[in-house]
């Protein structure tokens, strides 16, 4: 039996959980605590209450079998606590341990036993007693049914120890043990249980007839003063006046992607990413945009900083999600102005994890997943393809290439060598490949030194099969074949140290290194080649001949282009190219408090150096050197593809050093933060300088001065002025420096009494707005944009004997007037929080105007003689980009069920205001006034129905037959030509992005699913994707137009010269352009915390099992129609390594 006394609702279990800090109290000895008692025939419990009443000490019970109802008498006037406890112990056979202001009560026998156990297990007695599970006895006078239960927190779904559980309006209470469990007696049906814990929102539950009450508690963000990472610092969320969104590392890790960028999709309002390819180790970095795009020239992608230091995108790809503490995106001028000339596209801030003081905690996280392509292009077999080929030839008025006998053999498959039917994709690629990621983190530290050390190993395998060489004159097998598969390996370490050198001087020493190996077959374009009709149609050749040699095409039927060969042979024997990437990063910073000078002042210096090195090693042979044979099953004769090639030549081994790049970043800052209640002021002045060296390119230098001043009145009225005075060496001296200022203000309306009166359920409501200017010098071209360059060009030969000269020609033209692009950004927003934070969110509206966009003029006729690529950029373009974002989340608990729903909706629509466009012949040819990324295309009307229809309709030049695509004659001149192509449809990037996370926790289980959708964009098919007889025939081609199927046709009539006809997708038309809109189950995550009673038995503190998935389902019209992933770039000329779907299983083990 145990109860908690009035004041002792919260027992400081925090002492060993480390969850929150305890107010340090001067230790007073119990002997010094005065106490005066006169007890006669009162219960022990009552005695405790009296003692608690007189002193600041509280009693806690950690033993069973305490008889607190026994009556005692004790006369101790003018005594002290120590004395009283001693006598009380003797009287009631109790043992007391006093720690801090807590008196732990045990019975004497148990104490003795514990002492013995403690010695045996070498545990300190104090700790041992505290770890002992709380068991309770019941109070006789309230004795009813016992109620048990467990308390967990919502976010991590972990047990919460030390939560106070009391019966409302009574003194009955207890607290949860380390497993978060409690048992409580004496609770009536109408009683209400109150769960309270510091930093969490209290929960009340009516007991009813329940015998088990589990609850999930949710952190009270407001009370914790949630901190948001902003540029060069942090801010309390309620004080933020700029547009910033943040996501935690835990949240990112729920999406099992290899590339960090891909894990962000759908999680941050205003951020949009597109994964272009799934190739291990290379192309799976996504394109990332913040608030859409607002320039058509130069980089559209945000600046990336990791712990304050700029990273390239390929370096960001080397960051393991495991290292990440949080990611912030900065969206408006107030947030980005301090990055001045680099901030116009928004900023992504990555913060890495750091250690916390405490015992060393070792965390091991391992995960294994299976990758499958999101979609594999489905192609027709040999029989269907051959039929369609004959049909197309007939339409072309040419002889069929296949006889009825041929077709019959294709159909029956009886002649696998003469009439093969090969699905080359299946031959070359397997359905799935493994990916694994393993991390070992060690963190902890003392007050002086804290550390976070992580080691990681990631291995992502590729989909290529192991295609054995079975040929007759096999060279020693080991030398013939190497691993040609795609794969990526990433080795990683990071050590983040925090050192407190003196009470006022602290250092951060961060060291991280990554080595990545990414291998791919020499002919990695295979994904495209596989679906090319000329190279790999289903009947072109068998994979192997009867003698095991690789097959080749029957030259009487069709010969692939001569630079190609049997694709299986090429992948089997073509060798590999492996790129090696080393990235080392040293980051040192020191902060000196100068509170002796004036409180709140500190100075900081920071130096970061990174070195990235790339190299490649390849073992390759030319595909045309690989011997393959056409086997004629009738004559059984083998004819070599190349009569000169009978042997497998040795591999060519090549090592190439890449281009190393180095970046040195230096920062020095003065920081001042002080509160003169109710005035709070802050100031930051920062110097920043970066030198970036990329191979032999001239050093790119950047220097800037940054400032930020903040003021608020009682956290109610907020004002911030910030900016940067930046210089870039890309411009002439007079145009190097510019000031980019921003101002923002906020009003925490909810802190106003009148507001609280009217809306008592709203505890947070802030209006904020910002306005400012930010720039961009990341605009491509030469390092010195103003410079005129003459280039060495083609060779020319003079002389009676060859005498080569390397000619010189005019290159890029110079322009001394070039300068940065500038964006004027305005933003207004509301942050709100309702019903004790159960419902919270924010709404933002922005209006961005980009001007001085460096544009290559397109109104310069080419007869001036300057090639378009050599025109100098001129600061003339203007783009407007407006939109809004809504983010809302709802969290609640229903008993043991925790619910967590977060949604975001982003809309950004841009419009080109000026881009020096030649005056078009027809209004529909004008791009100005439309969004960036629109294309000019024909308007598709249907199909020409008949010869009469062709005769009576406008037609394009060239061959037109019934069933061909019919386009609209916009200018009514009777001819379909480029004049009839209009800017139509939607741009190539979505203007609407939606992310929805649904999360549930129940008992030890947690589940979340992230839905992500992008809307309002068009994708047009490239030439290499669905053109019959250029690509392999696909189901879409079965829906071709024929006179019989004219009504239901989904594809024009087939012709073997389709690619040369006007119907070629290169002549863009709305037939080839399809809505790109998609909805994806981007990720799903299921976690299970192994109960701690099991975990602790094997000496661990926490074990979590999880399963998650990435890109699980996709709904896309585009995918359905053209079998092409909607995130892969528009107009791509071929099939790329498809983005992957990952099913992943993992284990996370923590021990101390």
């Amino acid at each position: 039996m145990a109860r908690i006394s009035l004041q002792g609702m919260v027992i400081n279990l925090a002492l060993f959980t480390g969850l929150f800090a305890m107010t340090p109290v001067a230790h007073s000895q119990p002997s010094n605590v005065p106490l005066s008692l006169r007890i006669s025939d009162k219960s022990v419990l009552e005695t405790f209450l009296i003692i608690e009443h007189q002193t600041s000490y509280t009693f806690a019970y950690f033993s069973s079998g305490l008889d607190l109802e026994q009556k005692i008498s004790l006369q101790a006037p003018d005594s002290n606590l120590e004395d009283v406890l001693k006598r009380l112990g003797q009287e009631a056979r109790l043992h007391f341990e006093v720690s801090d202001r807590k008196i732990v009560v045990k019975n004497k026998e148990e104490h003795a036993k514990e002492q013995l156990d403690a010695v045996k297990t070498s545990l300190k007695p104090g700790y041992a007693s505290l770890f002992t599970p709380l068991l309770t006895t019941t109070l006789p006078r309230f004795r009813q049914e016992e109620i048990t239960g467990q308390v967990r927190d919502l976010v991590n779904n972990e047990p919460l120890p030390g939560v106070s559980v009391t019966v409302k309006g009574t003194q009955i209470g207890t607290s949860t043990n380390v497993e978060g469990r409690y048992t409580l007696s004496g609770v009536g049906e109408n009683d209400v249980l109150v769960f309270t814990f510091l930093g969490f929102k209290p929960i009340e539950v009516r007991a009813g007839d329940q015998r088990r009450i589990d609850v999930v508690m949710e952190e009270d963000m407001e009370s914790l003063d949630e901190v948001v990472v902003i540029g060069y610092g942090t801010q309390i969320k309620t004080d933020v006046t700029s547009a910033v969104s943040q996501v935690s590392g835990d949240e990112i890790r729920k999406t099992p992607t290899v590339a960090l960028q891909n894990g962000l999709s759908g999680k941050l309002p205003g951020l949009f990413s597109q994964q272009r390819s799934g190739r291990p180790g290379g192309d799976n970095a996504a394109n990332v945009y913040i608030r859409g795009v607002s320039t058509y020239a130069g980089s559209q992608q945000p600046l990336v900083l990791v712990d304050n230091v700029e990273y390239n995108y390929d370096q960001l790809f080397l960051i393991d999600p495991n290292e990440v503490e949080s990611i912030s995106i900065l969206k408006d001028a107030a947030a980005t102005a301090i990055y001045g000339i680099k901030g116009a596209n928004g900023v992504i801030l990555v913060t890495t994890r750091r250690g916390e003081a405490g015992k060393p905690e070792i965390n091991f996280r391992t995960q294994f997943g299976s990758q499958t392509p999101v979609h594999v292009l489905e192609t027709l077999g040999a029989y269907e393809s051959a039929m369609l080929h004959n049909e197309a030839l007939a339409l072309d008025e040419m002889d069929p290439i296949f006889t009825p006998e041929d077709l019959e053999l294709f159909r029956t498959g009886e002649d696998p060598y003469g009439h093969p039917d090969v699905n080359w994709y299946d031959v070359v690629f397997k359905p799935s490949a493994l990916v694994t990621n393993n991390n070992l983190d060690i963190s902890g530290g003392s007050e002086r030194v804290r550390y976070f050390i992580t080691l990681g190993y990631m291995w992502q395998d590729g989909l290529l099969r192991d295609i054995p060489y079975k040929g007759p004159d096999q060279v020693a097998s080991g030398k013939t074949q190497v691993n040609t598969n795609f794969f990526a390996k990433r080795y990683k370490f990071r050590s983040n140290l925090d050192i407190k050198a003196t009470n006022s001087l602290s250092f951060k020493l961060d060291l991280s290194g990554t080595r990545q190996e990414a291998s791919r077959p020499k002919y990695e374009t295979g994904f495209g080649t596989l679906f090319r009709y000329e190279y790999a149609n289903p009947y072109i050749m068998p994979v192997y001949n009867p003698d095991g040699s690789f097959g080749y095409a029957n030259p009487n039927r069709m010969i692939p282009p001569n630079e190609s060969n049997n694709i299986a042979a090429v992948y089997s024997l073509g060798g590999y190219t492996k790129s090696l990437n080393d990235f080392l990063n040293v980051h040192i910073s020191g902060t000196q408090l100068l509170d002796a000078l004036t409180p709140g002042l500190s100075v900081k210096a920071e130096m970061a150096y990174s070195n990235a090195n790339t190299a490649s090693r390849s073992m390759t042979r030319y595909q045309t050197d690989i011997p393959t044979y056409w086997y004629n099953p009738e004559t059984e004769i083998y004819t070599p593809r190349d009569p000169a090639n009978y042997t497998i030549l040795p591999y060519e081994l090549v090592y190439e050093g890449g281009t190393p790049n180095r970046r040195l970043n230096l920062q020095g800052a003065l920081n001042y933060t002080r509160s003169f209640e109710p005035h709070n002021v802050g100031a930051l002045i920062l110097f920043n300088q970066t030198s970036y060296m990329d191979g032999a390119e001239p050093m790119a230098n950047f220097r800037g001065y940054t400032f930020r001043f903040t003021y608020n009145y009682n956290h109610k009225y907020l004002l911030e002025v910030s900016g940067a005075y930046n210089g870039s060496d890309r411009f002439v001296t007079q145009k190097q420096y510019q000031l980019f200022p921003a101002v923002s203000a906020g009003w925490n309306l909810a802190k106003e009494p009148f507001f609280q009166e009217v809306f008592p359920f709203i505890e947070g409501f802030k209006l904020r707005g910002s306005y400012g200017w930010v720039g961009s010098d990341d605009i491509g071209g030469n390092q010195y944009l103003y410079e005129q360059v003459y280039d060495r060009a083609d060779n020319y030969s003079f002389g009676e004997f060859h005498n080569n000269i390397e000619s010189i020609v005019e290159g890029v033209q110079g322009n001394n007037d070039v300068t940065w692009q500038t964006e004027r950004k305005a933003d207004i927003g509301i942050d709100f929080s309702l019903f004790q934070g159960r419902f919270s969110g924010s709404v933002d509206y922005f209006d961005n105007f980009r001007y001085d966009i460096l544009t290559k003029r397109s109104t310069i006729p080419s007869y001036f003689g300057v090639q378009a690529s050599n025109l100098p950029p001129v600061n003339i373009g203007e783009v407007s980009n407006k939109g809004y974002e809504i983010e809302a989340s709802y969290k609640n608990t229903l008993g043991r069920l925790g619910i967590n729903v977060t949604g975001n909706f982003s809309f950004a629509k841009n419009k080109i205001l000026f881009m020096d466009e030649p005056d078009p012949k027809y209004p529909w040819q004008r791009a100005t006034g439309l969004p960036i990324g629109m294309i000019r295309q024909h308007i598709w009307l249907g199909y020409y129905e008949s010869k009469e229809d062709i005769a009576n309709s406008p037609v394009p030049a060239g061959t037109v037959k019934p069933g061909y695509l019919k386009y609209k004659d916009l200018n009514d001149d009777g001819v379909i030509d480029t004049d009839d192509r209009a800017y139509m449809g939607k741009p190539n990037l979505p203007n609407t992005n939606i992310g929805l996370t649904l999360g549930f926790t129940y008992s030890n289980f947690s589940f979340s699913v992230l839905l992500q959708s992008a809307l309002n964009f068009d994708i047009y098919m490239g030439n290499g994707n669905a053109v019959p007889f250029k690509t392999n025939l696909q189901p879409i081609h079965q829906g071709r137009w024929t006179p019989e199927t004219a009504e239901t046709a989904t594809f024009p009539a087939l012709t073997t010269t389709f690619n040369g006809s006007y119907m070629n997708p290169d002549n863009r038309s709305t037939f080839w352009t399809t809505k790109g809109d998609y909805l994806r189950i981007r990720s799903m995550n299921l976690g299970y915390n192994v109960p701690s009673e099991i975990v602790s038995k094997i000496g661990l503190s926490r074990v979590m099992l999880f399963a998650n998935g990435y890109n699980l389902f996709t709904w896309s019209k585009f995918l359905d129609r053209f079998q092409f992933d909607p995130e892969v770039s528009s107009g791509g000329g071929g099939y790329v390594y498809p983005p992957e779907r990952i099913l992943n299983f993992g284990l996370n083990v923590t021990f101390k």
Binding site: D396, M558, P560, A644, R792, H802, S858, G865, D919, N1067
Partner: protein, 585 residues
């Protein structure tokens, strides 16, 4: 106080961390331009070697460029648009397909655009050179000569533009600043001819007749005179001599002389005669080694008496790598398959056309006893060609079913569609990858073509004997037997029309694959040679050691009227509305 000093010392140390590294740099230099090795206008023209290299860049404008430049049947894909050759690939968005089907898709436009801007880019380079050469450290004589070379090259680029587009904007000596106005329209065809001729007249007198040593290959006086002849020949030809296909009057004078004037042939004739009168060129002739051997060797000799202007290249296997049959080649990715039309145009060794009953032509043995040029231009069924495998001359088999060189349908991409492969200008000893290179330069203007120009101009001015003399010269060198009448198979007294046909046929075979055919057909306004006509091939069946021959249709070509001139790039017309588009585009 102690606390303060500690804190200040700490701060100082931190600042040193940053400042120590900044201190090493000169502050004012930090954002200034670092020295690079890049060149600019000033550095180039301050150095004589650089200046000459810049001139090399202007020369590079002679390069084979898709639809302009010296043709070799490889890069100049127009070969496969005419009745000379078929292209290998059945579909692909290839330029040839787009033209020969009359569809003119995106590839066509981009090739046309590229050629237009390539030529104008080199005109600009020429103007930059002319503007700055006087300030360069070159010697006075070199300045003078290189300026003349440059002016010639500029005139050549205009001549190419005029062949493609008719009258074009003339830039004069202006190096246009990007802020200049784009206004002003096309110059008339007459203005362009006058400008080019006046430039050539200005530079011709002082240009050297020949070069030796390191300067060999530069522009000579002969080149200037020959180009003048070529431009005047075009100007006299039906399409330009009052024969514009434009219906709008303002377009007529841009695309041609508005009216016909027969005296233009006389000017062309005189210009051709001026080249002959130099007396320094001759047809490379060697009928001793083998009949017509000079015709073969000429193309493999860097220095020869016949080339008037060539695109100079280092030793190479440029043609072999593209054109060899699959059995001999490596890439063999750009087959131009000669047509039956071309094959049939070659006369017999006695010079008589194969349709002449007295010629001795045997349809059952069609490759016997033909004009020696035939054997140097075409690989046919059974013709011997060096094979690296075995290192010997071995037959190439193009009969149906022969692997890998046998004829395949036009719907396939693997081998010849006509039964023939191209070999003109190729070195038969060096199939590609066999090692070795050949000293090939590509002819832009050669004496043989000049004589044919002369013959044409002579015939059109009524001087038929003079025309026949040129044909005899050509045939003599070709290794054709003189015959009893020493007419080398030519008829005795042909009419002007008959002579015209003789000349056209001689051009067809003598200049096959050299890039003349397409532009000849245009200037003759003879699109019907191609339009709606099938190209033909020879389907050969093997039966034991015997062959049977069957002429087959390969592919129908169209020649739309708008193809007489290329379209001016679409953007160009958008930017400058005064730039009138060519008829039919």
């Amino acid at each position: 106080m102690k606390k303060l000093s500690h804190q200040l010392i700490g701060s100082l140390c931190l600042l040193l961390l940053v400042m120590a590294q900044i201190g090493c740099e000169k502050a004012e230099d930090f954002l200034d331009k670092k020295s690079t090795n890049s060149l600019d206008e000033t550095t180039v023209f301050a150095d004589s070697a650089h200046t000459m290299d810049f001139l090399g860049g202007v020369y590079h404008g002679l390069f084979i460029w898709r639809v302009s430049g010296p043709s070799n049947g490889v890069e100049n894909i127009l070969v496969a648009v005419t009745d000379e050759a078929e292209q290998r690939y059945p579909a692909a968005g290839m330029l040839e397909t787009q033209i020969l089907t009359g569809s003119f898709g995106g590839t066509f436009n981009s090739y046309i655009n590229d050629s237009w801007s390539f030529l104008y880019t080199h005109i600009r380079l020429a103007n930059i050179y002319l503007k700055h050469v006087d300030g360069s450290p070159l010697s006075a004589s070199l300045k003078k000569r290189t300026k003349q070379e440059t002016r010639f090259l500029r005139a050549y680029f205009y001549a190419r533009l005029m062949e493609g587009w008719g009258g074009v904007p003339l830039m004069g000596d202006t190096v246009f600043d990007l802020n200049s106005s784009a206004g002003g329209g096309r110059n008339t065809y007459a203005e362009c001819v006058d400008y080019v001729i006046s430039e050539l007249d200005a530079v011709a007198p002082d240009l050297p007749l020949t070069y030796s040593g390191l300067n060999y290959g530069r522009v000579t006086k002969g080149a200037a005179l020959a180009l003048k002849a070529r431009v005047l020949l075009f100007a006299a030809s039906p399409l330009y001599n009052g024969g514009s296909v434009a219906d709008k009057p303002e377009l007529k004078e841009l695309t041609a002389y508005p009216t016909h004037d027969p005296s233009r042939w006389q000017k062309a004739l005189e210009a051709c005669q001026a080249v002959v009168d130099l007396g320094i060129y001759e047809l490379e002739t060697d009928n001793e080694t083998k009949p017509g051997n000079g015709f073969y060797e000429m193309f493999l000799e860097r220095v020869n008496k016949e080339y008037i202007l060539a695109y100079m290249m280092g030793p190479n296997v440029y043609l072999e790598q593209f054109n060899m049959p699959p059995s001999r080649g490596y890439w063999n990715s750009y087959h131009r398959c000669p047509t039956q039309e071309l094959v049939d145009a070659f006369p017999m060794l006695n010079g008589k056309a194969i349709d002449d009953p007295t010629s001795g032509y045997d349809p059952a043995n069609p490759y016997e006893g033909r004009d020696p040029r035939f054997y140097y231009s075409i690989i046919y069924n059974g013709s011997l060609y060096f094979n690296r495998n075995g290192r010997a001359m071995k037959p190439v088999w193009t009969y149906e079913g022969a692997s890998p060189d046998g004829i395949v349908p036009v719907s396939s991409g693997g081998a010849t569609h006509t039964g023939y492969y191209y070999r003109k200008m190729s070195d038969e000893q060096i199939p590609y990858r066999g090692g070795g290179n050949t000293n090939r330069c590509l002819p832009i203007m050669r004496y043989g073509s000049l004589l044919l120009d002369l013959a044409e101009a002579a015939n059109e001015t009524g001087n038929i004997p003079l025309a026949l003399d040129q044909l005899i010269e050509i045939r003599k060198r070709a290794g054709i037997e003189p015959g009893g009448d020493s007419m080398y198979g030519l008829p005795a007294n042909p009419s002007q029309d008959e002579t015209r046909e003789l000349i056209r046929r001689e051009r067809f075979i003598e200049l096959a694959f050299e890039g003349y055919r397409f532009f000849d057909i245009r200037r003759w306004k003879a699109g019907d040679i191609i339009d709606e006509k099938y190209t033909h091939g020879m389907r050969i069946l093997k039966d034991g050691n015997d062959f049977t021959y069957e002429r087959i249709e390969v592919r129908k070509h169209v020649f739309k009227e708008n193809l007489y001139l290329f379209p001016i790039p679409f953007d160009e017309v958008s930017i400058n509305r005064d730039l009138l588009q060519n008829p039919g585009w």
